[in-house]
């Protein structure tokens, strides 16, 4: 019987999983970042260098038309023909100076572009490498090739470089500047100039590659846009610097000037607009000519394009072509992952292009080796569809071609490298919009179906089980028939719609059909809707979901959640003020205040995310740079381990249900678990701060490992086993009394202490055991927060209970039969369904607890430390599991509490009516919790799909979507666990005990 509600929840879970899977497949493109390095001991994989050193200047957001001799018509007085040096030199020395328009792959943000330029590859959001979290690169790049060749790199400018390459630059010649402050137009540029010119002047300076990254043009673009006198002044300054650099340049130093990306007409960038992806590249060799004066380069090698608005075509190449070109010009191997193609002009040193042939051959072989390696890797299947074509082109290359047939060889090799690039770009750099749409459709219909189910279950009374049984038959059948429809759809449509596989089609068909069937069978009748239902619109949920459309509110979600949480209890406070009895008034107002204070105190704890600076102070740790707990938390941690179980016991004592299992778990098991959990982190603090000296390290490590193992093992083996055997928190005493009314006979009187909360108290114990399991994995400040969260949850339950009492009283008053108030049975309106406004605070506490236990919707906030709670070294599967538990444990904990809304302070009589109601309400509370988080997921998925070309998508929207997706899975699992195991066991035990006690 209990499985009916459970199977409904399982079905919703399936729809969620299907939607998340399809959307994620379309949105989060992954690429395996191979860490192989192109080694070249014998010098066979490179050319002899044409230059000894190179100066690489990056002017951020330098769009091609800023340098172009043929700017769009009419030229802008503010940004065209101002940076004139490149076009002047190109006109004067065409064999030494080369100007290109380059295509920079989206996302056109500096970090991604720097990775692309240096590795010659296409970055995606998740480069599945060994280093999941950091921004630093672990792929081969020309920077690492320089380093491997023992050469020195000097660097100045945008500090993005030092995050990507933390250890590559010579420490004496590294001058990073903060790239965050867009308001500041000059600091970075002046800093670069200040350090650049002396290094160029100083002939003894020992650099081999000098990188300078100017930010001014980009910042002017963001701040005032390109059509502004400030842009003119900025470009004038850049022109002056370039002239001085060229003056100071050695003959054997190659100068490369490039923009990492362009800017749109407003001066912003990040997306894939024509103006954003157009960046300039200028290569200048002061000494030797790179292009032979009489070179006759075949036209098919010289691709060109007309810049929007201009009339004359210009040479147009891929920005990543710089990686192989620069490597070979300086005598280094091509980076292993490169997909660029060498630029012909720069290797045409003789009339016939012998060096070019050699360069291109090296280039093609390198690409081939990369593709072979990728295909052999775990992700090799991605290349399946394109592999045959690539192999065919590869076979067509004739490597031993005679000079006469050279042209065909060049053509074949460039076709191969370009085809490889096109294939990989399709794989990694494009959203699969069809899959995203399918996923969004499923998420939307699934959320709608779950909401309707929630409403329907509330409207159905005792009949809910027969209805659910019928619907269950329906959706199970429709899942199979839907899969069949999906198959048919796949056969017919797959030729026209790219990127949808058979599995996806089956999944989509099955999930969509069954949700449509559920929507159809659970649709509310028009008559049941009224104006009154307008008051039950979940305003906090709507605001919470809408917040994801704005990057600011997504960044500040932790504050938004606090605000919404307090807002969500305002209606209860109003009810409390107007409550008809002073007992109810004090209960509602007092517990609301306790709830609000706990929530607000939780909100004190935060690890700030990067975007919240400078308005945020880290309080989760002692300071932003010192990841140890704040001192007062150290002092508080041990008292809290004792106080929290006492407080929970105190709550249960209100209903006299601190007996039975509660009398064992709360005074003994829980405090010892919490104590061990706190001790773990206190010892960890002693260990990491080396307070006792290094000779203690081994002992401390052993000590804390044991603490954590005893705490978690104790709960798992002992706590849950005990609860399973003795779940109830009742004290039943039987007393035999002489019956005065009937002469000599005796009467048996049974007293059940904890009767009023017979369902709720055992579940609270069940819930506390998970709290104990989670506690050791959460750092000290988080433990304080968890304790407050537990208090807030219990206070909320008490508020809900009293508000229901008030409503019950009001219903009795309104019924016109006020004397019914004297009959206790009518005070428990058996049919009052759970309201969504009761679920909302709980769902919000789940999100709140996530943020306040030291997490943010940003990958850097993952607490990797917790991987080593149970073991001193990385151990599978425990270490990743512990990190997941740490990150999503708070969500799980609070979602696990949602059935309490159905169970708390519910008396177990009469049976089986009470049991039926409890199980229905538990399923509804679980559904409500799922709906809340699914609505957040739907909103964040829609927003990240809509804003997928937004500047911040990979920093803000995509991480929030990932958080929402995992949260939905975690919440679903939590409520399934809660309803399946917790409610199932409690309802079994209670109904077995009380079925004999039905009032006659």
């Amino acid at each position: 019987m209990a499985s009916l509600g459970l199977s409904l929840l399982f079905w919703v879970f399936f729809i969620h999983l299907a939607g998340i899977y399809l959307y994620t497949r379309g949105f989060l493109l992954t690429r395996l970042a191979l860490s192989d390095v192109n080694h070249c001991e014998d010098g066979q994989c490179t050319l002899s260098p044409t230059h000894k050193r190179a100066v690489l200047l990056v002017i951020d957001a330098l769009r091609f038309d800023f340098l172009s001799p043929n700017p769009p018509h009419p030229p802008s007085p503010y940004h065209h023909n101002i940076l004139r040096l490149p076009q002047e030199l190109t006109a004067a020395r065409p064999t030494h100076s080369f100007l290109f328009e380059t295509f920079s792959d989206p996302p056109t943000t500096t970090l991604q572009r720097l990775k692309g330029i240096t590795t010659g590859s296409l970055p995606t959001f998740i480069d599945m490498g060994s280093n999941f979290g950091g921004s630093s690169i672990n792929e081969d790049s020309f920077i690492s090739q320089f380093q491997a060749a023992g050469k020195k790199i000097a660097f100045m400018g945008d500090d993005t470089w030092t995050t990507v390459f933390p250890h590559s630059f010579d420490p004496n010649m590294t001058f990073p500047y903060d790239s965050f402050n867009v308001e500041d137009l000059h600091t970075v540029d002046e800093g670069v100039i200040q350090h650049l010119l002396p290094l160029l002047q100083d002939r003894a300076a020992s650099w081999d590659l000098l990188i300078g990254h100017f930010l001014g043009v980009d910042h002017v673009g963001h701040r005032v846009g390109p059509d502004h006198p400030t842009m003119r002044a900025k470009q004038q300054q850049m022109d002056d610097v370039l002239r001085r650099v060229v003056d100071l340049l050695d003959d054997d130093t190659l100068l490369i000037l490039l923009g990492d990306h362009g800017m749109d007409r407003k001066g912003d960038h990040g997306g894939d607009g024509d103006h954003e992806t157009s960046a300039a590249l200028w290569v200048y060799s002061k000494g030797p000519a790179l292009l032979h004066p009489k070179a006759a380069i075949p036209a098919h090698l010289l691709t060109s394009r007309v810049f929007p608005g201009a009339t004359v075509p210009n040479r147009h190449i891929q920005q990543i072509d710089l990686a192989p070109t620069l490597s070979l010009l300086l005598g280094l191997p091509i980076p292993f992952n490169n997909l660029g193609t060498v630029i012909p002009e720069l290797f045409w040193h003789d009339k016939t292009g012998k060096d070019y042939t050699r360069a291109l051959t090296l280039n093609a072989r390198q690409v081939k080796r990369y593709l072979d390696t990728y295909r052999a890797s775990a992700s090799g299947g991605e290349l399946d569809s394109a592999w045959e074509e690539l192999e065919r082109i590869w076979q067509s290359i004739d490597f031993d071609a005679k000079a006469t047939d050279q042209d065909a060889q060049w053509r074949a090799m460039t076709t191969y490298t370009r085809q490889a690039l096109a294939v990989c770009r399709a794989l990694w750099a494009q959203f699969n919009v069809s899959l995203m749409t399918l996923g969004l459709t499923l998420l939307a219909t699934g959320t709608l179906a779950a909401s309707l189910l929630y409403l329907k279950l509330g409207a159905l009374q005792e009949k809910w089980e027969s209805w659910t049984g019928e619907v269950q038959r329906w959706y199970v059948t429709s899942m199979f028939s839907g899969a069949l429809l999906g198959f048919v759809g796949y056969i017919t449509v797959s030729r026209y719609v790219k990127g949808i596989g058979l599995f996806e089609a089956l999944l989509f068909g099955s999930a969509l059909t069954s949700s449509l069937v559920v929507i159809a069978s659970a649709r509310p009748s028009i008559s049941s809707m009224s104006l009154r239902s307008l008051t039950s619109i979940p305003i906090p949920l709507i605001l919470h979901a809408l917040a994801f459309a704005s990057n600011s509110f997504t960044v500040w979600e932790d504050h938004v959640v606090t605000f919404l949480l307090i807002t969500s209890i305002v209606p209860s406070v109003f009810v409390g003020v107007a409550a008809p009895t002073s007992r109810l008034r004090y209960r509602i107002l007092g517990f609301s205040a306790l709830f609000a204070v706990s929530v607000r105190l939780m909100a004190v704890s935060t690890v700030c995310r990067e975007e919240q600076q400078p308005y945020c102070h880290v309080t989760f740790f002692a300071s932003s740079s010192l990841p140890s707990p704040p001192p007062f938390v150290l002092v508080l941690s041990l008292p809290i381990a004792f106080a929290l179980p006492w407080v929970i016991k105190r709550f249960l004592k209100i209903s006299q249900s601190d007996k039975g299992a509660a009398a064992i778990v709360l005074p003994w098991i829980l405090p010892s678990t919490l104590l061990l959990g706190s001790a773990f982190w206190v010892i960890e603090h002693l260990d990491s701060s080396e307070a006792l000296g290094p000779e203690w390290a081994g002992t401390l490590r052993l000590g804390r490992t044991l603490c954590a193992r005893f705490a978690m093992g104790g709960v798992l083996l002992f706590g849950y086993a005990l609860w399973w055997l003795v779940p109830l928190c009742l004290k039943i005493s039987t007393e035999t009394k002489p019956d005065h009314t009937a002469g000599g006979r005796t009467k048996t009187e049974v007293t059940v202490l904890g009767f009023a909360n017979a369902y709720g108290a055992p579940y609270v114990i069940f819930w506390c055991l998970f709290l104990g399991l989670l506690y050791p994995v959460i750092q000290l400040t988080g433990q304080v927060v968890l304790a407050l969260a537990a208090v807030a949850v219990l206070a909320h339950l008490e508020v809900v209970d009293s508000v229901r009492d008030v409503r019950g009283l009001e219903a009795v008053f309104a019924s016109g039969n006020p004397s019914a108030i004297l009959k206790p049975d009518t005070l428990q309106p058996a049919s009052a369904p759970i309201r969504f406004s009761e679920i909302t605070p709980l769902a919000l506490i789940a999100v709140h607890a996530f943020f306040t236990t030291g997490h943010q919707a940003a990958i850097p906030s993952i607490q990797w430390k917790t991987a080593f709670v149970l073991t001193p070294t990385l151990t599978y599967p425990f270490s990743p599991l512990l990190v997941v538990l740490n990150t999503f444990g708070p969500h799980f904990l609070i979602a696990l509490a949602s059935p309490l809304l159905a169970l708390y302070n519910v008396a177990p009589l009469p049976q089986p009516t009470a049991d039926v109601k409890v199980r229905r309400d538990a399923a509804r509370a679980a559904l409500g919790m799922m709906v809340y988080h699914a609505a957040l997921l739907l909103s964040s998925a829609v927003c990240s799909a809509w804003l997928r070309r937004h500047l911040m998508v990979w920093k803000i929207f995509a991480p929030r979507f990932m958080l929402a997706a995992v949260t939905v899975v975690v919440v679903d699992v939590a409520v399934l666990f809660g309803v399946g195991v917790g409610v199932g066991r409690v309802s079994d035990a209670v109904s077995k005990l009380f079925v004999a006690m039905n009032p006659k």
């Binding site: 704005s550 605000f563 109003f574 107007a578 929530v599 909100a603």
Partner: protein, 318 residues
């Protein structure tokens, strides 16, 4: 003290219309023209005290004069920018000025409402008792003589309740997420403004809610609960007390939302948006109260006219 309380509260509770016929009667002497004009003046002066008052005295006297030399569009534009600049330059000063302005205005508004409620009581008595009760008349005359002192004391009590409410609001604002330790003055002044807007008029007109167990204090308490917890006013005066107060609270709540945006505007400084939101919400609430009450009053007049007609025709037929 208690005797005075006793005298004011039943009056207001009668006007509060615990019996439906009082509100029926109230419609017939709803002072539409006077009420409309007073609300108009009151709300525009409130807007003035929010937007222009904080720019005095230094800014408007020195800069304002020099900004108007040619009166062209650019000067106007410059003037507008200047006003935002001056308003946001020092949020504490701005909100303090708003408090001062609204304190004066709310004092006047509350006393006007009080006069209205006394008049209403007078009308009710005049209508209720066909023969004027001489004792009641004497009492009213005595009341009028004692006017000044009594009003001052009532105003003092209202002020003290406003202060207490501002402290309570401060706690609530912190619970909503306002900084705990920093910006105390900012937060407090914002809540003082909210209390002046929302609490001062009802505290003056209705008297303080008391915790006593005698029937007048019970009535007073129930009136407060009905108005501000159940939000169900029944007479025009109650609407003029409740709607603006609710509007101010909601405006304040809404005003917290734009602070989170990354627009880096000076007006996003704490607590400007909630303060201006409260002021705006108050004005909107006041206007809604006016429109609602006027609609009810006119509907009442229309119904009475129809009833009279029906009775007349009935009489004719018979």
């Amino acid at each position: 003290m208690p005797s005075r309380k006793v005298r004011t509260t039943p009056a207001s509770s009668i006007s509060a219309g615990s019996q439906p016929e009082v509100s029926l009667e109230a419609g017939s002497f709803f002072p539409f023209a006077r009420y409309t004009s007073v609300v108009g003046v009151h709300t525009s002066l409130l807007a003035f005290s929010a937007l222009l008052l904080p720019t005095t005295p230094t800014s408007l006297l020195t800069k304002g004069v020099s900004l108007y030399p040619n009166g062209s569009a650019t000067a106007e534009d410059g003037f507008r920018r200047d006003i935002v600049g001056v308003l946001t330059e020092n949020p504490v000063r701005t909100v303090a000025w708003m408090c001062v302005g609204s304190l004066i205005l709310q004092g006047w508004w509350a006393s006007w409402l009080n006069t209205w409620s006394i008049e209403l009581r007078g009308h009710a008595n005049a209508k209720g008792n066909s023969a004027p009760n001489s004792a009641e008349m004497t009492k009213q005359m005595l009341e009028r003589r004692d006017w000044g002192n009594q009003r001052l004391a009532a105003f003092g009590r209202a002020i003290s309740m406003t202060l207490a409410a501002s402290i309570a609001f401060h706690v609530v604002t912190v619970l909503f997420g306002a900084p705990i330790s920093s910006h105390p003055l900012h937060t407090f002044l914002m809540n003082l403004l909210l209390a002046i807007l929302a609490v001062l008029p009802p505290a003056y007109v209705l008297g303080l809610p008391s915790t006593g167990s005698d029937s007048p204090s019970l009535v007073s308490r129930l009136t407060w609960i009905r108005l501000f917890a159940e939000l169900s006013p029944r007479t025009p005066i109650e609407r003029a007390l409740v709607y603006p107060a609710a509007g101010a609270a909601m405006g304040c709540w809404v005003g917290a939302i734009p602070i989170g945006l990354d627009w880096e505007r000076s007006w996003q400084a704490w607590p400007l948006t909630p303060a201006f939101g409260a002021m705006g919400g108050y004005i909107v609430g006041s206007l809604i109260a006016l429109v609602t009450s006027a609609t009810f009053a006119f509907a009442q007049v229309g119904r009475e006219a129809r009833d009279a007609q029906a009775q007349a025709s009935k009489a004719k037929r018979s």
